[in-house]
């Protein structure tokens, strides 16, 4: 077992001349100015990276590219898929039938996991969570928001989804059924929100701007524009 603990003394006031691996920093992913490496596990992370590079298992260039790839997938990626589904009924049918296959049309790949797209209707509102961990459609929406990984959301959204949605400022009519989908390592969900009334006739590009990350997780509704 790991014998190290993380409660040893840290000199938080010390101005560390720490190594962020600045040469690997992507221009759009600068280290936070207040980012300090304090804990044993933070040091361990840097140590693993350096050892893997020294042993030739990975290269700094691979690390940089992996970070850039992650940064390249954002909620705007998912919004394109949703806007296409809103404006192209045949695409919507393909997306609902087999999400993993349908996102290939956008050059995206679920990497061996399955994407299940759940459609909101006037009768049913869908919300996604991963109670056991943090499984998320990261290849469609990017990395999950902080709260998606936290205990409070994971514990409570399956028990009292309406109360949790209210904390996001989302109120649903009482007659709408709320379905919460618990993701797994192998199966990821994406919510297909309802197109807001009054936005019919808008182009897919115009609609994309209305589709937030949170509306594709199900804790919010798309903007009515």
């Amino acid at each position: 077992m790991q014998e190290h603990t993380h409660d040893h003394d840290h000199d938080h006031g010390h101005d560390h001349d720490h190594d962020h691996g600045a040469d690997e920093t992507a221009p759009h992913a600068p280290p936070q100015p207040d980012e300090k490496i304090h804990s044993y596990y933070q040091v361990l992370g840097l140590a693993l990276k350096e050892l893997l590079v020294e042993k030739g298992v990975i290269t700094p260039d691979e690390i940089r590219k992996a970070i850039e790839f992650r940064d390249s997938i954002t909620p705007a990626t998912g919004a394109k898929i949703v806007a296409r589904a809103w404006t192209d009924p045949a695409y919507k049918a393909r997306l609902l039938a087999d999400g993993s296959e349908a996102i290939r049309e956008f050059g995206l790949d679920m990497g061996g996991t399955h994407l299940v797209v759940v459609e909101n209707t006037p009768q049913t509102h869908n919300v996604i969570v991963c109670t056991l961990c943090s499984c998320y459609p990261r290849n469609v929406l990017g990395l999950p928001p902080s709260w998606y990984k936290q205990r409070e959301y994971r514990a409570r959204v399956v028990r009292e989804p309406r109360a949790v949605l209210a904390e996001f400022g989302t109120q649903l009519p009482g007659n709408v059924e709320v379905r919460v989908h618990d993701s797994t390592a192998d199966m990821r969900y994406l919510v297909l929100p309802m197109q807001p009334k009054g936005t019919e006739g808008k182009s897919a590009e115009q609609l994309e701007a209305l589709i937030s990350r949170d509306s594709m997780i199900g804790v919010a509704l798309p903007s009515a524009g």
């Binding site: 790991q2 603990t5 993380h6 040893h8 003394d9 000199d11 010390h14 560390h16 001349d17 720490h18 190594d19 962020h20 691996g21 690997e24 992913a29 600068p30 936070q32 980012e35 490496i37 804990s39 044993y40 596990y41 933070q42 040091v43 361990l44 992370g45 840097l46 140590a47 693993l48 990276k49 350096e50 050892l51 893997l52 298992v57 990975i58 691979e62 690390i63 992996a66 992650r70 969570v129 109670t131 056991l132 961990c133 990395l143 928001p145 902080s146 709260w147 990984k149 936290q150 205990r151 409070e152 959301y153 994971r154 514990a155 409570r156 399956v158 949790v164 904390e167 996001f168 390592a185």
Partner: protein, 103 residues
């Protein structure tokens, strides 16, 4: 018995809905995990097994990517990619460079 990760349906406080952008350190750990998976050294289920074996105290006090780091170190040792001695020596080296006292 519930493991520390098995929290669905438990009572908990309000959700912190604020945006907390990922730090560069977190992005590096995410990238290391991706690369180790791509190179066949680590599977999602192995990552989860070690995270779920951390025990209640560590699971509940470590940050998300600290848990991933702890897990990754165990996986890499298990796969024979790194040894504990190599890791300990490198941790001491990094810590000295950061001006931290040894634990």
């Amino acid at each position: 018995m519930r493991g520390p990760h098995d929290i669905g349906g438990l009572e908990a406080g309000p959700v912190d809905t604020g945006a907390h952008p990922m730090t560069f350190w977190e992005k590096q750990i995410d990238a290391l995990n991706q690369l180790m998976a791509q190179k066949g050294f680590r599977k999602t289920d192995e990552n989860r097994r070690y995270i779920e074996q951390l025990g209640d105290d560590a699971y509940n006090t470590l940050s998300y990517y600290e848990r991933w780091t702890a897990s990754l170190s165990r996986v890499l040792i298990e796969k024979g990619v790194l040894t504990q001695d190599e890791i300990d020596a490198k941790v001491a080296e990094v810590r000295a460079r950061l001006g931290q006292d040894a634990a």
